[in-house]
Structure formats: structure tokens, C-alpha cells
Amino acid sequence: MNERVAIIGVGYTQLRPVSSDVSFREMIYEAAVRAYEDAGIEPRDVDTFVAISEDYHEGTAIFDEYVPDQLGAVLKPVHTITQDGLTALASCVMQIKTGLFNIAVLEGHSKASNILYPSHIDAFALDPVTVRPLGFNPVFLAGLEMQRFLVETGNTEYHCGLVVAKNRATAIKNPIAAYPAEISIEDVLSSNPVSFPLKELDIARKADGAFVIVLAKESVAKRLSPYPVYVEGVGWLQDTPNIEMRDLVSSLYLTGAANMAYREAGIRNPIREIDFAEIDDTFSYKELQHIEFLGIARPGESGEMLEEGYFDIDGEFPVNPSGGNIGCGYMYDSSSLRGVYEAVLQLRGFAAERQIPDVETALIASWRGIPTASGGVVILSNRE
């Protein structure tokens, strides 16, 4: 099938530190109803469903069996991706590209507040014989990488503090964000040390919430939606699981995923050809590292550009107009769907108070979090 694939519907719930008044089913149902209404479809029109989940984050084994009801997917083709959200989006695109499916639905959610010992779950992901017995809280991995990245590139802790201040403040204009705040760089620098040089406020806090996204092939999209947003390129890949062997300066997973997506989208000069980006900032330094290794800034230059306001919402290349994971809340593998949601609103011109004028092309880049080196990149555009 040579047609493009478009996003024709998005649904969300408010992101919140806790959501004890609703079950995961009721939360996802709310997002799904909004997405189907937005796309002008009923669940019976959907040909295939893809959901994102990781059993240890859900609290049940074989969680994919819990997916159908709240999406209207009973007795329909459903499968679950235990990977980052953009990898799951790529799966929807590929299914539509086979020509066998016209409409695909993607779901991702987080009930992070229900995980009582998240560090223990992260620790269980470490190598059982070479790393886990050492007994560190897995957040040390972010400390190790942040240290090497800053020393090697010349970016500073001050720049990392600036990322946090920018994203928390940007989130004030995002009605779904869980952690909007006016905080100073000094607040970040003086917050509790966690794993030097990483401090408490450098870390995105977790949030509960759900997103549902409806995709369709171009001809169907044009019929159903007055403002389809096209998927121009997708990329995803993984680095080695051996932490000791990884390049801890460069996020090579995003360089590779970006090259794959840029090639498909025909992008040669990302900073010229892309208007804004939603980029993983689960740890403050990650936003800078990701900006540099996506090819948006040269290594060592992102901090200064940030200081000059280059990545502000009214800057030359806005990064995280939603407020990012730091401003909106970290939702494990579903975090990147918030980036997709934000990009779709911006490209439709529906981002209200935080609308960036005249945008045509967006980049979304994800990282799967500790202890992984996997990421994804998606290029979206509103161009006919």
C-alpha cells in the first residue's frame, strides 16, 4: 500500500499523581470515548488494536488479556507491545501499510501510583548475575550517564536545572499536566542529591493517565477527518543491554531511530525542516543529550542554545511545548503518547494558549527509561 498513514483522532485523560477514584478500565474508557468521538468513528469501525503494557508495571501477568473491553475491542484483533509507545505506533503504521487494515487504534496508560516499590521493579530489570547483586538503586545509572555526558560535552548542571525550570513553567499552560510550577534553577540545584550529579528535581515525577490514538490510511483519513496529521517517518531501535559497554555520552538509540525516521520522511536538515519537538526528558540531562544526538544541536551546544531561549515555546525551535515528562508526569512506556497527543494538537492549531504559530512538521522522540537504551522517533506533518 503506497498511501500515507494519518492520525485522525486523539483522546486523553487528565494526568494526575494519583487516580484512586477510577480503575484502569474506567480511565482508558474515558480516553477511548474521546478519541473515537474526535475521529468520528465507532469501535466497530476499527480493524486492529495495539496496546502498550509491561506486566510488572500493571500488577498482573499477561496483562494484554485485560485490553479489549475498555477499547471496544472484544473479539477483534488486538496485540500488546511491551516496548516504548512510539514502537507501538510504528506497529500500527506497519499494520495499515500491509493493506489489510484501514483503521488502527493505539492505547497507552499508566497507573504508576499503584506500583508501591518502583525501584525494586527497575532493579529486577538489571542483569541478575553481573549487576543486580551489587545492590544499587537503579537510578545510579542516570547518575553515571549524566556525569559522563556533562563532562564530555561541557554542558552543565545549571543547564539541566534550566531544562527543569523551562518544562515545569511551560506545563502551566497545559491543562492536562500533572506538575506545572514556577520553580527556579536554584531550586533544582539545591534539591536533594539522589545519585551525583543527579538531584531530586532533575527527575520527572510519575503520573497516572491514558491516551488513545486513532490512525487510518490516507484515503480513509481524508474522508473522516477535516484535519488529518500524517505520519511521515518512524524509527525505533535498541542499543546493547550491557550498560558497561554502551556509549554513555551519546544516546545512539535516538541517533539511529532518527536516521531511520528522517530517511523515510526525506529530512536532511532537521533543525530547518522540523518546526518543534516533543523529546524525552525523564531526567533533565536527557533532554539535552537527546537534542544533541537527534542532530538538532551539535554535541556541547544545546545548553547554551537553551540559555538563549532557542528551545523555549516562543523560541526558534520549541522543545516540549507540552511541558515534557518533567512538567506533565512520567507514564513509563506510554509517556511518548503524550508527545504524540501534543504534536497533533499543535499541528491542527488546537493548542490554545500554548499554540506555536505556523507549524507544519513535528518530531517526537522517546526513551524507554532505566535501564534501557531503546528509543523511537516519529515525524508528523499536516502537509497535504
Partner: protein, 176 residues
């Protein structure tokens, strides 16, 4: 075919003669029941079974849910159901979760609750009406079959905590 090597004994694990990992993951979760299951559990604490009805297809579902998974519409009414029903299917189980053998079997069953739509049931245990424990398969089969009418036996109200185990078990009852 002959395999080279040596077979492993329990001792080899205990004395760490081989490399193995034994990790107790602290996989502890809060569980947000939400609107529907919270009401269901509140009902159990009061000794009541609540279902929910769908305005579209008219089904009454239990355990209750806030939306109909078939019509994809919100359900809109609480329906108080009887604490009795009929056995949709049952099995006679001789194994515990850790795979050890049970001396006396227990009987898991799907119980279609009276007043709920056909095929709507909850999973629970069925016990012997007088002595609770079943001696053997023959005894079970002599007293229950698919379609047998059963009634809930509740914990005393001061012991109920809003859990599925507030019903101790169901027992077969005589047809009126």
C-alpha cells in the same frame, strides 16, 4: 541417546555448587478499583450483590462495570441482585497453587447470579451444604451438576471486609 554431564541434586542448589538466581521481587501494588468494583465490594460488605445495567442492550452485568464492553456505552443503573444463582460450570480440583496435591478436592464454579443476564456470573467456590468439605469426586457429582441452584453463605457481618471472600462459598439448595 546418551547425554554427557551430571544430573543436579537439590543439594547442589543449597550448597551453591551451581550458579542460580533467587530474587524476591517486591512486586506490591495498590489496586484502584474505580467506581464499579468499589460499589461491588461495598455491597459485599453489606451482604449484597450489585450488578449494573446497560441502556443499549439491556444486559445486567456482574461484576458490575461502568461501560458495556459490547455496546461501548456507559451503563446507567445499579441493580440489586439475589445472592443465589445456578452453576454454569464447575470443576473438581485436586491441586493447590504450588502444585501440591489436596487430600480433599475443592470445587471452583461459575455461578450465574439470579437477576443478571444469561451467562453473567461470578467465580466462586461451591461447598458441601452440611460438612463444607467434599470427600471425593463421587460425592460432588452426586450433589451438583450444571444448572444446580446454589446460594451464598456469607461471613458474619463483623468479619466482612469488602472482598470477594466475604462470601465464604456457595452451597447447593433445593428447588422450590
Amino acid at each position: 541417546m546418551e547425554f554427557k554431564g551430571k544430573s543436579l541434586k537439590d543439594r547442589d542448589f543449597k550448597e551453591k555448587n551451581i550458579l542460580y538466581t533467587d530474587w524476591h521481587v517486591k512486586a506490591h501494588y495498590a489496586w484502584d478499583c474505580g467506581v464499579a468494583l468499589s460499589k461491588f465490594f461495598e455491597g459485599l460488605k453489606e451482604g449484597k450483590l450489585y450488578g449494573r445495567s446497560c441502556p443499549e442492550c439491556g444486559r445486567v452485568v456482574i461484576p458490575p462495570r461502568m461501560f458495556c464492553e459490547l455496546c461501548f456505552k456507559p451503563t446507567d443503573k445499579w441493580v440489586l441482585l439475589k445472592d443465589e444463582g445456578r452453576i454454569n460450570t464447575f470443576s473438581v480440583s485436586y491441586v493447590n497453587t504450588d502444585a501440591s496435591r489436596r487430600e480433599k478436592p475443592n470445587v471452583p464454579a461459575v455461578i450465574e447470579i439470579e437477576g443478571a443476564s444469561e451467562g453473567m456470573g461470578i467465580l466462586h467456590l461451591v461447598a458441601h451444604p452440611e460438612k463444607i468439605e467434599w470427600e471425593n469426586l463421587e460425592e460432588v457429582l452426586s450433589m451438583i451438576k450444571i444448572g444446580t441452584k446454589v446460594k451464598a453463605v456469607w461471613k458474619p457481618s463483623n468479619e466482612r471486609e469488602g472482598a470477594i471472600t466475604d462470601i465464604k462459598y456457595f452451597v447447593p439448595v433445593k428447588e422450590e
